[in-house]
Amino acid sequence: MSSPEKLLSISKVSLAFGGVKALTDVNFHVNKGEIFSIIGPNGAGKTSMLNCISGRYQPNQGSITFKGKEMLGMKPNERSDLGLGRTFQNLALFGHMSVLDNIMVGRHHLLKNNFATGPLYWFSGAQKEELEHRRAVEDIIDFLEISHIRKSQAGTLSYGLRKRVELARAVALKPDLILLDEPMAGMNQEEKEDMARYILDLNEEWGMTVIMIEHDMGVVMGISNRVMVLDFGRKIAEGLPDEIMANEHVKKAYLGEEDELLMEETA
């Protein structure tokens, strides 16, 4: 077996907000084709990590290379061209746009028409280009089973549907690496199962590498290739799902095992 190709490498990344150390010396890498999960208690720095990768935050030190390119100092909007897409923990759709337009915005960096050629719609090729991308967007809409709401205003949809539209918009970017921040938070079991299936399909059929933050351990252990655990901004474990489940540090920090042990002792 040839050694896996590294798509993303994070080395010695630290990030502080004033006195609050959100991340301290975090190292990890993600291989091409993986589903890589980040878990950890609230406030552990998981979202901050994604924000560093997507460019929303600039780490105070360390390096982030994607496809061998250093991404530090690169603006967030330049990273979509490199093949990076993401969804947000708190919904971040364009509330007044239709679902369709929301997803079309995902094609922004792939489209070429602009403020001068767009208005000359029929004569500049803008129409042809828009329709081509519209077709690609419809494929995504079919895949995520949201065709019934494609004309609805995004801001009026239910929570679960909005999460799905956000995923569709990120997929529309045609990313090689997609970052999903709690894609199943607030969903019921059925919606979670759907979402897990979409993520697996994206990984296997659409060829996307996935980094996912998720609290539902069942899902995390079920679909991840590897898992990393953050606690108070530090990486405390990384490995195969089974290894993580068995790790003592993780049990203490995250799985609440400590309390149970304590209770057993006192009982």
Partner: protein, 357 residues
């Protein structure tokens, strides 16, 4: 779940092309095209008063659409739109007077020139928002007004600048009847231009920046560029509108392009509907016609003999000024989403008629 689309039942789109039309139904498109054709015959039947009103609506509505792209679609603010309108008027006159550029070229040229100036004064938008941006554009308004007063080479100073009439293929559009066609063509052209912009890449980017700038940035949208570009496109429209105004009147002087005018443009898009292409037109029609209608009312009351001539007549015209303000305030309270929104509801009502809720 509120569906955005207002299509009647049974109107299924079978191609994506049919689904991305400017007009929502073929009926609306038919009615719009028929109205435009009907308007072509207007100079044959209507008298100059109505033609003047139409021309006035045209050049103001073009500028108002520009402001709506900036304020309604991109979510920024400008208190300097009147100055950009004036800049377009002077620039076009200057091109024709100084470089003998034909008017039909100098109008779009003035648009581009005003666009550049707009982007220059829009630079603060890369950094600041809201009230701070409002103040920065207010400064732009005063700086440009001052420029008009001082730059005699450009604006003719206190004397103002003469602006040639539009002429094309040896025909000069110097009467109300003939300029009507220039106005109609420009209005239709610029509104199609705007509608196409808003359904293509950069138009969507504007709305994305307005709705959620952080995720817009993740989608590959360069925030600084689109905030600036929005000022550019907005000023482009102001410049075209202003240039048309200048070549219609035949003369440009600086007095009109004040803060008052900028505020009036804002009133037009708020009344018409922020973030709506047809809203900009509806709002302009409203603001232009309101004083005329009130004037007519005052005339009727005076003519009826109920009111003595003389001093009371004067208070009536006072009343007119106040009524304009009152109507605008009432509008903001009872119709905050603007005329375009009301129009949508009327359409929805007829669509479901007789099963209205």
């Amino acid at each position: 779940m509120i569906a955005l689309s207002m299509r009647p039942c049974g109107d299924f789109r079978t191609t994506y092309k049919a689904d991305t039309q400017i007009f929502e139904t073929s009926t609306i498109r038919g009615v719009t095209i028929a109205s435009i054709i009907a308007l072509c015959f207007a100079p044959l039947v209507l008298d100059a008063y109505y033609l003047t009103l139409f021309i006035q609506i045209s050049y103001l509505a073009i500028a108002a659409l520009g402001l709506n792209i900036l304020v309604g679609f991109t979510g920024q603010i400008s208190l300097g739109h009147g100055a950009f309108f004036g800049f377009g008027a002077f620039a076009s006159a200057w091109f024709t007077n100084t470089f003998a550029v034909p008017v039909w070229i100098s109008i779009p040229l003035a648009g581009c020139f005003t666009m550049a100036v707009g982007m220059l004064f829009g630079l603060p938008a890369a950094r600041i928002k809201g009230l701070y941006l409002a103040i920065a554009t207010l400064a732009a308004q005063f700086i440009i007004e001052d420029f008009f007063a001082r730059a005699e080479w450009f604006s003719g100073g206190a004397y103002g600048a003469a602006a040639e009439s539009v002429s094309l293929f040896g025909h000069t559009f110097d009467s109300d009847e003939s300029f009507f066609y220039v106005a109609l063509f420009s209005l239709v052209f610029m509104y199609i231009w705007g509608s196409n912009l808003m359904r293509s890449r950069d138009g969507r980017a504007f709305v994305a920046v307005r709705d959620h700038y952080l995720s817009a940035e993740i989608m590959g949208i360069n925030l600084t560029w689109y905030r600036l570009l929005s000022f550019g496109v907005s000023s482009f429209y102001a410049g075209i509108g202003g240039a048309l105004y200048g070549h219609y009147l035949g003369f440009v002087s600086a007095e009109g392009f004040t803060l008052m005018m900028s505020v009036q443009f804002l009133a037009m898009i708020i009344i018409g509907g922020l973030g709506s292409v047809q809203g900009a037109l509806l709002g302009t029609i409203f603001i232009v016609l309101l004083p005329e209608v009130l004037e007519g009312l005052v005339g009727m009351i005076a003519g009826s003999g109920l009111v003595e001539q003389g001093s009371l007549m004067e208070s009536l015209s006072y009343f007119k000024e106040m009524a304009i303000g009152l109507v605008i305030i009432l509008f903001l309270i009872f119709e905050p989403d603007g005329l375009a929104h009301r129009w949508k509801q009327i359409k929805a009502y007829w669509k479901y008629y007789p099963f209205a809720y």
